[in-house]
Amino acid sequence: MKKIMILVLVAAMMAVMSGCSKKVPDESPSGGGEAGRAPISIELPKPLFEGTPENLTGIENLEPDTKKPRPPFLAPAGVKNLALNKTVTSSEMDPINGTLDMIVDGDKEATEGSVVELGPFEQWVVVDLGAEYELYAIVFWHFHRQPRVYKDVVVQLSSDPEFITDVTTLFNNDMDNSLGLGVGTDMHYIDKAEGKLVDAKGTKARYVKLWSQGNNQNDYSHYIEVEVFGQ
């Protein structure tokens, strides 16, 4: 038992020393039904899967599609979307399609004019909230006109604009660590109109960074909208 405790302590120290990146413990969602919490209000776009269904076979570690709506996510009453119309920067400041401000413009539709497309290979976008807040949920929509699975999705928080220190990794499904941010253990998932919600667990941060590296259908990264709920 003593030996195990020492190993855990050493592992924790190594994690702190290795670039200050930390993975939030996988606890139950903030929406645990605690007193003083209320469902966050997420306005969903129109569901729209069109055209030839895409080939989703051969994707490892794919989350089963329950085909049920996401349960309400509880957070302290009064939290709101802090990302609306904030500044967005990216690994590709001049996207293939669209402009970066569209990622936080409130338009979540999957129509052609609402999608920001970044090039192949690893890409990221950062939303600057303008100040440090307590964050409870990150909700993002890559693309939901067809069922797609985006690759190497990583969501990080920090108050360091360079994401060198004080980095919290909330979600990582980069199973082979091709981004070099650490081996991801989260599952791949099908992008849908309800977007992907990641529990931010009340972490304090100013910047939200989302990574991706193409999808099962093509090698581009797409972002329709990012919402950051906090106070």
Partner: protein, 453 residues
């Protein structure tokens, strides 16, 4: 995540090949170059053109290089796709943009092949022009919206000596190839085929008209008119308009009706059909079509039903071939596919096909699920549901990729086309006549010579 070729490995490979080509191109001449590198242009950069381009790019074949793209929507499709190709510049692609295909063909002297993915009514002119320039062509289905247009394409292919592949991509899909080569041709697994049933049903939500968003810049009216479109709405939804496309029976049905003829080894002898603009407004082509073909095969007559609907996606899309010994169901959807053995065929008779890798043995007999009513009893007149044998072949790449690679590998001399122009023509004859049968409200007969040029 790395699904196929590691990108870093690819970059190293393509750089090495590029360097080698620089030397070999100088030392060995153009013929040597053409064995390894195929310079490609995309003509028509809309949704389907993008699907084809991305399927090629995803293959990461260092010998296939995009060099140019042409589309009349300069601020939309053309801008997007040329910028997409530019983002691949470091591994050898480029996307010089053109709005005039003739200018592209005149300017791009090193082209080897063109992917034609324009609206159906442009296929013939574009394909013929490319072939006359000495280029190989991969043309999306439907080959043309008219048989006259399709005929000109075959004639141009014959005159040019170049390749013309039509985009009936199931013909290169390894699951379909397995069904045809192994289960039908080799094993005759389902016995004598007597009936076929197929469908492609799409939900209302996925059949809504494409609308221009506020953030998109439309094509000016003069340009639209010059290229045969009345307005931007028609440009974005051309499949629904007569003279431009053929409606769902052509867009969707042609893929599957093509498989009917392929698997049966013959073309239909007649068709009756019912259809109409039943649900949508502002459309010219039928949104709902049901057709029945008759075939006269060497083994006997076959009747084949096909339906396409645009209001309800029930059971999606598949083709089901029913023989006197079993039923083969196949779909481009990789989740759908397998063979049912008829109950009177002994399991032992099929063990050889399991052992030979033709099919995978059922994991368990299907369980009869009656309704919850305790009074319900199994009807003794009903046949016990047969066992489902699954297919041992998977398909993990974009649907169009194997067919495109079949085209490129035929240029390289290592394969032969799976859907050359004359096959595409036969399919066009079968499919385009469904709309005629609906309009004339009568049975139409095919003569053998209808399928030949």
């Amino acid at each position: 995540m790395v699904y196929q070729l590691n990108r870093r490995q690819f970059l190293r490979t393509s750089t090495a090949i590029g360097a080698g080509l620089y030397v070999s191109g100088k030392a060995l001449g153009a013929d040597a170059k053409h064995k390894d590198v195929i310079n490609v242009a995309l003509l028509g950069a809309g949704a389907q053109g993008q699907v084809l381009m991305d399927a090629i790019l995803k293959k990461m074949d260092p010998g296939i290089r995009f060099v140019a793209v042409c589309d009349i929507w300069e601020a939309g499709n053309l801008r997007k796709v040329s910028r997409r190709l530019k983002s691949w510049e470091k591994i050898g692609h480029k996307g010089t943009p053109y709005t005039d295909y003739r200018e592209m063909l005149d300017t791009e002297k090193d082209l080897d092949a063109v992917i034609v993915a324009t609206p159906d009514f442009w296929h013939s002119e574009h394909t013929v022009a490319c072939l006359e320039k000495g280029l190989h062509v991969y043309c999306e289905k439907e080959m043309s919206n008219t048989l006259e247009g399709a005929r000109k394409m075959v004639e141009a292919r014959n005159a040019s000596g170049k390749l013309l592949q039509i985009g009936h991509q199931r013909r290169s899909n390894p699951r379909y190839r397995h069904c045809y080569d192994k289960l039908i041709q080799d094993a005759g697994l389902i016995g004598r085929i007597t009936t076929i049933n197929g469908q492609w049903n799409r939900s209302k939500a996925s059949c809504e008209d494409r609308a221009l968003s506020e953030k998109e810049t439309p094509i000016d009216e003069a340009t639209l008119n010059k290229y045969g479109f009345k307005n931007m709405h028609q440009f974005l939804n051309w499949r629904w308009f007569k003279g431009l496309g053929g409606g769902p029976i052509v867009d969707l049905g042609s893929h599957q009706i093509d498989i009917y003829s392929w698997f049966l080894g013959c073309n239909p002898k007649s068709v009756i059909a019912s259809g109409g603009v039943d649900y949508w407004t502002g459309h010219e082509w039928y949104d709902t079509v049901m057709a029945v073909y008759e075939y006269e095969t060497a083994a006997g007559p076959v009747r084949a039903f096909y339906q396409t609907g645009t209001t309800n996606s029930s059971r999606g899309y598949f083709e089901s071939f029913m023989g006197d010994q079993g039923t083969l169901t196949i779909s481009e959807d990789p989740k759908v596919g397998g063979v049912y053995r008829e109950g009177w065929i002994l399991e032992e008779q099929w063990d050889q096909w399991v052992q030979g890798g033709y099919v995978l043995k059922p994991k368990g007999a299907p369980v009869f699920k009656g309704d919850d009513d305790a009074e319900a009893v199994l009807d003794p007149r009903a046949t016990v549901p047969p066992d489902l044998y699954t297919l041992p072949v998977t398909m993990n790449v974009p649907y169009h990729q194997p067919h495109l690679m079949n085209f490129f590998n035929t240029i390289r001399g290592t394969e032969t086309l799976n859907c050359p122009a004359e096959i595409g023509y036969e399919s066009a004859v079968s499919v385009l006549r469904v709309n005629e049968a609906v309009a004339q409200n009568r049975r139409l007969e095919f003569k053998p010579e209808d399928f030949h040029i």
